[in-house]
Symmetry: C2
Subunit: 257 residues, 2 copies
C-alpha cells in the first residue's frame, strides 16, 4: 500500500515514534489538504476554486481488495481518482477474453471511458485495500464551465489517457516480452518518483497473472523473464517487492537507448 509506504519508511528512520504502521488517513480529507495535491488536480486552480471542487468530490470509505468500483456496462456517472492503494481496469472483448487496460496508482484518474455512450466500457477493481475519490461527471461538467482551467485539465487527462493507450499499443505490437516487462517496471518506477517515492524500491501491486494479461503474455513467460532479470542482477525481486539494481541496463532492455 503506497500510502503506508512512507509511514513504514519513517519507522525505519525511527525519528517519528508517534507513527504506527496502520493506515490512519482520514479518507475524508479535503482536496486542499490532500498530499497528492496537483497530481490529480490542475495546479493552476486557486484555493477558492479548490474548495468548489472539494464540494463535488465524494470520498467513500476504503475499498477492499477484489471489490469493484464499477462494472463494464454500468451507467457512467463519475470519474475516479486513486487516493491510496491501486486499481486495475479491464474489459471483456466480444469473444469473452479479459484484457487489463491499465493500473492506476495514487494521484491517477480513471473511469474516463464510458463518457462516450454513458456506460462504462471497462470494469474497475481494487488490487489491494484502496481509497478513491469519486467525482460526479455532471457536477464536474457544470464546474468546468466556470473554471476554464479545470476544463482544460480534464481534456488533458483524457488526451493523456489516449497517449498512454497508444504507447501500450506500440509496446504490444512491436516489442518482445523482455522489452514489455522492462517497460512496465520502468513505468511503475517513474510513477513512483512522480509521487515522491523511491525510483528503485517499490511493491508491485498486481499479480504475475495481471502483469501477463496487461502485457499480452502468459504468466509463465512473465515469471521466466523476471527470474532472468534477477539472475542477471538487473532487479531483485522477492515476491512482490521490487528493487531495481541496474536502471541503465533496464532502460537499454526496454529499448530506450
Amino acid at each position: 500500500m503506497y500510502e503506508q509506504q512512507d509511514d513504514a519508511m519513517n519507522i525505519l528512520a525511527s525519528d517519528l515514534p508517534e507513527k504506527d504502521t496502520t493506515c490512519h488517513h482520514d479518507h475524508r480529507v479535503s482536496c486542499s489538504n490532500c498530499r497528492l495535491g496537483s497530481l490529480c488536480l490542475p495546479i493552476a486552480v486557486s484555493s477558492d476554486d479548490i474548495d468548489q471542487i472539494d464540494n463535488i468530490v465524494l470520498r467513500s470509505r476504503p475499498i477492499d481488495k477484489g471489490n469493484h468500483l464499477f462494472n463494464q456496462g454500468d451507467s457512467f456517472k463519475s470519474i475516479y481518482a486513486v487516493r491510496s492503494g491501486a486499481i486495475k481496469t479491464y474489459s471483456l472483448s466480444a469473444s469473452g477474453k479479459e484484457q487489463i487496460n491499465g493500473f492506476y496508482l495514487p494521484g491517477e484518474i480513471f473511469g474516463m471511458d464510458g463518457i462516450s455512450d454513458f456506460s462504462h466500457a471497462s470494469s474497475a477493481v481494487a488490487l489491494e485495500r484502496s481509497a478513491v475519490c469519486e467525482i460526479p461527471y455532471d457536477s464536474l461538467g457544470k464546474l468546468s464551465n466556470e473554471l476554464p482551467s479545470l476544463q482544460r485539465h480534464f481534456m488533458q487527462l483524457m488526451s493523456r489517457e489516449i497517449a498512454n493507450d497508444q504507447k501500450l499499443i506500440s509496446l504490444l505490437g512491436k516489442n518482445s516480452a523482455d522489452e514489455r516487462i522492462a517497460a512496465l517496471i520502468l513505468s511503475l518506477s517513474a510513477r513512483n518518483v512522480r509521487r515522491k517515492f523511491s525510483a528503485t524500491d517499490f511493491r508491485l501491486p498486481m499479480s504475475r497473472t495481471d502483469i501477463a494479461n496487461f502485457l499480452g503474455l502468459t504468466i509463465e513467460t512473465v515469471s521466466r523473464i523476471l527470474s532472468k532479470f534477477s539472475k542477471q542482477n538487473v532487479i531483485e525481486l522477492q515476491n512482490k517487492e521490487m528493487r531495481i539494481i541496474d536502471m541503465d541496463r533496464l532502460r537499454s532492455i526496454a529499448g530506450i537507448d
Copy 2:
C-alpha cells in the same frame, strides 16, 4: 478513394452519364451541406448552431497521397475531420519504431492526441488524395462554452477514441494473426456501412505494410493470411479491392460467436 467510390459505382451502373471519375466535390462545401452530416458533428445541434460551427471550420484544398497534415511534436492547434480519402496516424516510440495508431475514413475525427501537452503525439499522413476539415481547438473550446451539446459531443469523441484504442490493445494482446486480420476487415466493413456504402465491397485504402504495422504483424504474415482467406472463399481480394464473401465465417474467425 471513398468519396469517389460512389461515382465509380454509378458509372458501372451507367445510369448517370454526366458523372466522371475525377473528384469534383467543392472542398469548401459547408457543414450543413456536407453529405457526411452527423457522422462528424453532433446530430443535436440546430441549423443556427451549425452555421456557427461552419464559421470556425477551415477547409483546405485536397491533400495528396503521402503528404502530412501534422507531425509528431508539432504544436497542437486543431483537430481534423476526414471529408474524403483516408488518413493514417502513427507515432515513433522511444526506440524509433513506427506504430500506426489508426486509420481514419470520411466522417471520422483525428488529431485529438496532443491536447494533453499542446503538441501532437503522432503524425498524420494521407493514404490517398484526401480532403479534410480543420477545426481550430481554441475556437472549438470557445464555441463549446455556448453549445453544451457540442462540448458533450467532443467529450464523446475523445472517449470513443479511448474505447477504440482499448479494443486494439485487446486485439494485439490476446488475438492471433487470423483474428486480428478478420477484425480489421470487419471494422472497415462496419465503417463503410456507417457511411452508407457496401458492407461487402470496398477498397482497402492502406498498403499491406500498413496493415501489418497496425496489427503488430509482419507483411509476410498479412499476405499469407489474406491469401488463405481467399483460398477458403471467405473473401475475394484483387490487389486492394476487397469483397467479403462469407461474413459469418469472418465473424467467427474474428471470435464474435
